[in-house]
Symmetry: C2
């Protein structure tokens, strides 16, 4: 293990009925002027918008709204939110949606307190100096944004998609009611599962030694995701499958299963370059890239892949070599993606080789990426080419 500091102060409310029971009391801790941020309007169709607004107005809260947050949330939308918060003297931002809405809200929260364009924080040219309090109501099991301080923003002017955050942007509270994910479309459920699984993989592949407990915790999350995705797809209103996936998504990226290790994160960096140009779903991009990355790096430490096979996918190791088990692990990952209907190749999104050079160059513009294996521009090019 590396020496580490860990702190995650978010108050997490899980399960049905929690919004009705506790939302008003949590909001009123921070004030009575609230900016409600949401996406394309699904929360209006499924009744969540009305429920939340009734609770807020019933508690004497004045609400402002920022709607239409994009799946890959854009800097221009963040700027709109910052303007509203400043003009209306907002006390609290309440994000109602999936990871994109939450990430956008974190950027707004930092932007309000930042003297300059908040993009500087994402472009590593500035540091957050504070943030408005943020609360969230989650509607999609995927990014873990409900219990961490990070987020990803896309700048369409510069064609950059970058992650950023600060100790200030942990949500003060997050409400995770699995029933709010019943109406998530099938493809979004798939992308969400791909995203949370990708977070586990990013933690699982590293070079930090003596991380036995972390390894087992991550394996636990991986096998639970794999075991529950199909049930949620087959029966969208299966409370327990939805609840389990939602809980996996939170645990996969709240810092609790990966303390003291430096995860890989190369696949996320590569995916960001693909969606910065093609605006594809993040989870879909990750599902495409991961198996190819795995093939490319497995010789670095085949026994790590063998553990993935035996501990997370339950493969009986008897009579199999480490290399064979490593290959089986990758096959299992591919099989899972296929079974749930995740995309397999960049071609599935009509992406050809026209921007490979640009994407490879951009992915490494802050230096080599990855921890399990350090990747330079050529490596990224090769992996993305294999994924065409």
């Amino acid at each position: 293990m590396d020496a580490f500091r860990f702190q995650n102060p978010t108050a997490l409310y899980y399960g049905k009925g929690q919004i009705e029971a506790h939302l008003a009391e949590e909001v009123l801790k921070y004030g009575k002027r609230v900016l409600v941020v949401y996406g394309g309007g699904s929360i209006k169709r499924n009744g969540l918008y009305d429920k939340v607004m009734n609770i807020l107005h019933g508690a004497g809260v004045t609400t402002f709204e920022l709607s239409g947050v994009e799946p890959n949330p854009r800097l221009t939308t963040v700027h709109k939110g910052v303007d509203i918060c400043r003009t209306e003297h907002v006390d609290l931002i309440l994000a109602v949606g999936g990871g994109s809405v939450l990430d956008c809200s974190k950027a707004i929260a930092m932007g309000v307190k930042y003297d300059g364009d908040v993009w500087e924080i994402y472009a590593r040219k500035g540091q957050a100096t504070g943030a408005l309090p943020l609360g969230t109501i989650l509607t999609l099991a995927a990014t873990g944004s409900e219990m961490n301080a990070g987020g990803v923003i896309t700048n369409w002017e510069t064609k950059e998609k970058l992650g950023g955050g600060s100790p200030y942007t942990f949500p003060k509270f997050s409400f995770c009611d699995p029933e709010n994910t019943y109406t998530v479309p099938r493809d979004q459920t798939v992308y969400g599962a791909c995203d949370m699984l990708a977070h586990c993989f990013e933690h699982y592949f590293h070079k930090t030694e003596h991380t036995e407990l972390q390894q087992h915790l991550i394996e636990g999350v991986i096998k639970t995701i794999v075991h529950n995705t199909k049930a949620a797809l087959d029966s969208p209103n299966d409370y327990h499958a939805r609840e389990t996936l939602m809980y996996c998504s939170t645990m996969a990226l709240n810092g609790m299963i990966n303390m003291g290790l430096r995860g890989d994160w190369a696949c996320h960096a590569m995916e960001h370059e693909v969606s910065a140009i093609y605006d594809i779903p993040h989870g879909g991009g990750l599902a495409i890239i991961f198996p190819h990355w795995m093939e490319y790096v497995k010789s670095e430490n085949p026994s790590r892949f063998a553990s993935l096979a035996t501990e997370a996918f339950g493969v009986n190791p008897e009579g199999k070599s480490t290399d064979e088990l490593a290959d089986i692990a990758i096959a299992k990952v591919r099989e899972y993606y296929k079974e749930i209907g995740a995309p397999q190749r960049l071609a599935d999104y009509d992406i050809g080789d026209e921007n490979l050079e640009t994407m490879a160059a951009q992915a490494v513009r802050f230096g080599e990426i990855g921890q399990f294996k350090k990747l330079g521009k050529d490596d990224v090019y090769n992996i993305l080419k294999a994924a065409l």
Copy 2:
């Protein structure tokens, strides 16, 4: 899963060098008048006392001291600490020691802000109204007190040992340097391992349904404890074994592996009655009681025990019935205790049947105990009798 609220705001510093690098900055967030609480003086022998005092005094901090905290910390000691804090206008309590020192410090922290005797909070006759800020420097991997809000205090006047806590008593920060556990005596290392394993068992056995991820997380902690105890006993200065055990102890009781389920906790309740009379080490008492409790309750849900065998102890299930696997699980638990030299029977502490009735009656004085199986007075009597 049950609906739940989870929040754990403690800032955790793990690894060697963290005290030197960050203790002063953390302490100074809360003030310059600090009560340092510690136990029997082992921190003076191993140099930790001098290190901490040098850092505090170098930062301009005025220190007060409460030493001699007992292994089962006593209410009278808590009262002394409360008096010092009030008289000296202490800003922060810094607990340097194992779970007993930390638990005592939590009681002091609540006591300072409580209008009445702090024992009322433990006796369920009052609720905490606040607490002085508390920081900890851990010297024993065992109780998890470094990252939770609870603690156990013994009232020798009434012969009661009761747990209590409040949202105010999460440590603000905790420093966990595995090197500070090198000099822990062998028996204390054993008791610590028994205690953290017991916490896992308390979480593992319950009646809450649909807790697949929690199950796997708990199994991960159990197998890591079992795998590392012997290394720490064989080579007390094995940094990685010490580090892994310390990390297991924190994760076993910081709330992260058991969200949304109601653990059993009957064995803890029974053990408290034994040590309230006989003042035996908590971990030793738990190691004695658990196998007998397991035998007594296994018919409630043998498949839970079978999972313990296959998932945590790596037993190959082929050709074995659920009942056989359940028996193997209990045998594995006994084998582990035996291998590390934990006590096996109450007789090992010269405890006979003289107080069985009293202990059984006291254990259920707030009502039946346990979740996996509800236990009344007769059940407790039977289990303790079997453990003689």
